[in-house]
Symmetry: C2
Subunit: 331 residues, 2 copies
């Protein structure tokens, strides 16, 4: 038994490419005191994976030579602790490898849902990020206009649908006419803006004749700037991520309108990560399970097979090729 690993060969200085990774093989580790040995089932692909290569965020920066980090749905195959047994499923930062021996203290047994992949999408970090960020930072009221960027992605596609359930008008920003059509026809978005088609600020104004009350920002950069100029007085911006800023050198400047528009429009911009709201996870999951069950919340997943395809899966995600939650099935 060997442990295939994808190692971060070199930190990218500009765009991430396959040359920054290499496939390695190691022995399968053993679970030490207080640890479990995990078998990786599905690895979650997230724009944040790329941000971790830029420097310290809410976790330490990655370094050349590390097994690439990443969260995964994993199965316990050996346990040195009482609360987890072989066969149990957990969400853990296994990294991009077949097996990982990890401290079990913070790991929790997941329910055995069908399909299993929903544990990484709607009932995982993506779903909870969408729900908490929208509800706690965006605080949408029925009748308001909610805009979300990276709207066809794992988080954005859920944000827009939850905002619709809450009675809002929803506008999604996504790249390309096909994604826009899908968001409108399949997910019920009221309108979409194709950021690849030109002037986002003007297109957003046309799509939001009553202005923007809540902007859920997954991109940062020019799209955030376009939103700032369209915000209504007392609007809220939920700062979830900045995918436009991750895959390259650090951006030289922030968006225009900061802080001028924040002052004159009395905006609130608030950053969050999903773990800030752990005490509200149970309510979020109950709501989303009900909405999935009654068909109001559609879950789009993009599952790629094979550990060896992880680098290409991440590179493609950064280029916006996925719809919904991208993950790689390892075993």
């Amino acid at each position: 038994m060997t442990n295939r690993q994808i190692v971060l060969q070199e930190l990218p200085r500009d765009r991430l490419g396959p040359e920054h990774f290499r496939l390695a093989e190691a022995d399968v580790p053993q679970a030490g005191d207080g640890q479990v040995l995990l078998k990786t089932r599905y690895v979650s692909l997230d724009a944040a994976n790329r941000a971790w290569m830029q420097g310290a965020t809410y976790r330490a920066a990655l370094a050349a030579g590390d097994v690439m980090a990443g969260g995964a749905l994993a199965e316990v195959v050996d346990s040195q602790v009482g609360h987890l047994q072989p066969g149990d499923l957990v969400f853990a930062d296994t990294g991009w490898q077949d097996y990982a021996a990890l401290p079990a203290k913070r790991l929790e047994k997941l329910p055995d849902l069908k399909p299993l992949t929903h544990l990484l999408s709607v009932y995982g970090v993506a779903g909870l990020t969408a729900y908490h960020g929208l509800m706690e930072c965006g605080r949408p009221k029925a009748g308001e206009t909610v805009v979300v960027s990276a709207a066809a992605g794992s988080v954005g596609s859920l944000v827009g649908q939850i905002a619709k359930i809450k009675g809002c008008k929803v506008v999604g920003i996504a790249g390309g006419a096909e994604k826009g059509a899908w968001l409108r026809s399949e997910l019920g978005f009221d309108a979409t803006v194709d950021y690849k088609a030109g002037d986002v600020r003007r297109a957003l104004r046309a799509a939001c004749p009553d202005g923007v009350d809540v902007y859920f920002d997954n991109t940062g950069g020019d799209i955030l700037e376009a939103a700032l100029f369209n915000m209504n007085i007392h609007g809220r911006i939920a700062c979830c991520g900045a995918v436009s800023q991750y895959d390259g050198a650090a951006p030289p400047h922030g968006p225009r309108g900061v802080p001028g528009l924040i002052v004159t429009k009395r905006l609130k911009m608030e950053g969050f990560i999903v773990s800030d709201f752990r005490d509200k996870d149970a309510q979020a999951l109950a709501d989303m399970q009900a909405w999935v069950a009654d068909g109001r919340l559609k879950v789009q997943e993009d599952v790629i097979e094979g550990l060896e395809n992880l680098p290409a899966a991440l590179i493609g995600l950064l280029a916006g090729e996925n719809r919904g939650k991208r993950m790689v099935k390892v075993a």
Copy 2:
């Protein structure tokens, strides 16, 4: 009887200068139905005066040929309404002129305090802006580090002192060694940073070894950027103004770190104007009166004589020459 007026001759494209104003004379207007005739006593000078020349903010933009706008402490000399009598004092947007006839609906009689000038400083817009912005947007807790920019100005000098009263460590950012010495020795600031002396980001780090929990932003621009990089997780930024951005062409970019640092540090940036918190004015005034009475809140005022000196007073304020609340005594 004539009405001297200072007219905005031309909108500035870059820095504001005396050539953008001219002195004019007009007849004294009459109070119409529902109006009062006001005699201007003290005109408030504010960085926002310059921002009004850039475009619409929370008020319509100024235009060439307008009497220059500005808030003032004024005395009722004729009244067509029941709730105001000759001799009453009000705060009103008289503009830069001896007399103005204005609708009385939103005007309230002010108490007859000594010194009268405190109605424009600590008990006026400056004091309420400092109090509400710090307490409602900054939400400082005892023991936290609070940083304020334009710290020697009308608002900043009060923000720092209120934060000290609330048990915080207070660091002020101001231009020049003299202002810094005054803030430390007279107003009790724990430390100061001279933004004219070079690397603000580094100096702020040295002055705030425990990081920054609350940043009260009066400047925007590079100083906001320096603060962003020194914020602690879950820090709050109260966006009050952007004086560094007003006196020139519109800035081409915002500060770096937006939204990246907002996300990773889960910051909250919130813009406000003082009238958003009118329902809390009574409490604010009661607190500040008590602190002034017991000597914990020192009020610094900078009173210039003569309506004709208004342009120079504003130009000087934008260059940072004042300490505390600048106003011009007209009558």
